[in-house]
Amino acid sequence: MLKLEQRPQASKFWTYGSPVLALLITVLIGVGLFVILGKDPVRGLQAFFWEPVKSGYALGELAVKATPLLLIALGLAVCFRSNVWNIGAEGQFVIGAVAAAGMALLADKNTGPWIVPAILVAGVLGGMAWAGIVALLRDRFNANEILVSLMLVYVGTLVLGYLVYGPWKDPMGYNFPQTKTFERVTQIPRLVQGMRMNIGVVIALLGSGLLWAFLFRTRAGFALQVGGLAPAAARYAGFSSRKALWTALLISGATAGLAGALEVAGPLGQLTPYVPAGYGFAAIIVAFVGRLHPVGMIFSSILMSMFYIGGELAQSRLGLPKALTGVFQGLLLFTLLACDTLVAYRIRWMAQKAGPAVAAAKGVR
């Protein structure tokens, strides 16, 4: 019979080994799935793991999708480390995009380049406001942040729907539910000519550095994590749990909103009902697979971006459904959580029959 035995300390090896093992298991299941669907598994794996990195352009596209994932995950890591379960980043992303679009729509032919920072700030504030509702209701009324933040995803998506089907609809847009295309000046500056990759990549990487400094080099970051690991110890040390709650939610709202702004004024260039692409949910997986560590999440966001691009390629090249992306993402988180057991526990094989000690004890009686 299998038995778990608590390790005296978390295993260093499995802390890093578990995501790798989880990825391997997910890939194995994926290969099985390709075979069941009657597709060549080698070509399937190529679509997911080789095509997205095989050229400069492909790498650029990889970065385009990894950027929002990383940004959102950075904020979520703060939440999860302080044991605040914000799972509504998707809503904060959407409202960030809406606020940024509102700013971008103000621009006209004569607007100066100041509009780009203004758009980003609008996105950040939008995301913070949406996450702030969660913090307020949790702080004032003790309302469960998981459910409130998730409900606000639906509300946020409906707000977006109302705007693009109603007051913000492009009058010249043949009745499509979308705003007019934003002015050129609002376009987030690109890094390389001819690629969609923009300065968001730099912002996300800087954010990763900032998060590292915040978590491991500031008192506030330390207090927040103690509150997450041992609430009683945090109280004893005089760290405020309310402050941690607000900090975590406002930071994650800000990064999700920023990601929304970068997306809508970057690759999209207008507000459409397709803004919510599931980045907010995928970022939860990015955060966990990246061990909630600023550097780990850079790798996991690239991996998750490969899943997105691989899914699209599998659809166009192999005729496989794009929904595979979601299947693999969910599977990865599942297997990761299972493999993480190895971090805290040793698995022992125990013989079913009574051991010598038990037999001896019985003999005495």
Partner: protein
């Protein structure tokens, strides 16, 4: 008058989805386990049930398929959470994310499929009553099934020994373990029951409530059902009432649209979600009340001998 009677019937039907799922979740929360995977289980069950009806033509086999799918996913969740000690919130979330993707994947071939027409149900005698007859006594049998389930659960939880053991496991797993009860097995059974009920609710959505398959069609009802258990302070009768209340809010939205009220449809669609938030705020305002009613070990792992 006639239209209000119809509205009442529709409310009960909409409430039944939430009632079935929330009653199931109530049992697994009574055993101390929170399963945030409700939405994912309901989605997978919705497509499983829908596909079963498409291939067999029997709604009842559709329900069975939905329950099977929900129970299977819940069992996987239970094994991870109960035996491998994974974090309940994260694992449930993984189940919801996986369920959303997996159901979309399975459902691709069924997007255009149509179901055979449902038979008309009527309770002989009662259905002929004026006004209330058609409103209350011509509904799908499962609507009455949910009421029976709630009554059965009150009896089970508070009048049987097994119910007492289940509650003991949720309140203090270590005491229950010390008394010799197989805590983990009981928890697994409770989780599987919760999954089966969520599955039944999911299959009801895709085969009876709105008989078609659309990606993500559960649209947050799994999460609302989770909120309902808190709202009902973990009591079956209140879960049922809460479910009908939310069914009413859902129906109100269509009713208001039909009356030609000048409110954008998106704002009306927000109502169930906003109502969930309002209700959570109202009920959670008093932390001592929640603490007094909540199963004491809810969300906390238990590993015997550690």
């Amino acid at each position: 008058m006639e239209s209000y009677a119809l509205l009442l019937g529709a409310t009960l039907s909409a409430g039944t989805v939430l009632a079935l799922a929330a009653l199931g979740l109530l049992i697994n929360e009574k055993a101390g386990i929170v399963n945030l995977g409700a939405e994912g289980m309901m989605l997978c069950a919705a497509i499983a049930g829908f596909a079963a009806v498409v291939h067999t033509g029997s709604t009842w086999l559709g329900f069975a398929a939905g329950m099977g799918a929900g129970a299977l996913l819940a069992a996987i969740f239970g094994l991870l959470v109960i035996w491998l000690n994974t974090n309940q919130y994260a694992t449930g979330l993984a189940l919801s994310l996986f369920g959303a993707g997996f159901s979309a994947f399975l459902g691709l071939g069924y997007v255009q499929a149509k179901l055979p027409e449902l038979p008309k149900y009527a309770i002989p005698g009662l259905a002929d009553l004026p006004v209330v007859g058609p409103a209350l006594f011509t509904l799908h049998p499962l609507v009455y099934g949910a009421v029976v389930l709630a009554i059965a659960m009150v009896w089970f939880l508070y009048r049987t020994r097994a119910g007492l053991v289940l509650r003991a496991v949720g309140e203090s797993p270590s005491s229950a373990h010390a008394l010799g009860y197989p805590v983990r097995r009981i928890r697994l059974m409770a989780v599987v029951f919760g999954g089966a009920m969520c599955g039944l609710a999911g299959a009801y959505i895709s085969t009876v409530y709105t008989p078609l398959w659309v990606e993500g069609m559960v649209s947050g009802r799994g999460w609302i059902a989770l909120a309902l258990t808190t709202f009902a302070t973990w009591r079956p009768a209140r879960v049922l009432l809460g479910a009908y209340l939310f069914g009413g809010v859902t129906m109100l939205q269509f009713h208001l649209q039909a009356t030609g009220l000048q409110v954008p449809s998106q704002v009306l669609s927000m109502l169930p979600y906003l109502a969930t938030i309002v209700v959570l705020v109202l009920i959670s305002r008093n932390p001592t009340w929640i603490r007094a009613n909540m199963p004491a070990s809810l969300g906390k792992p238990f590993y015997p001998g550690s």
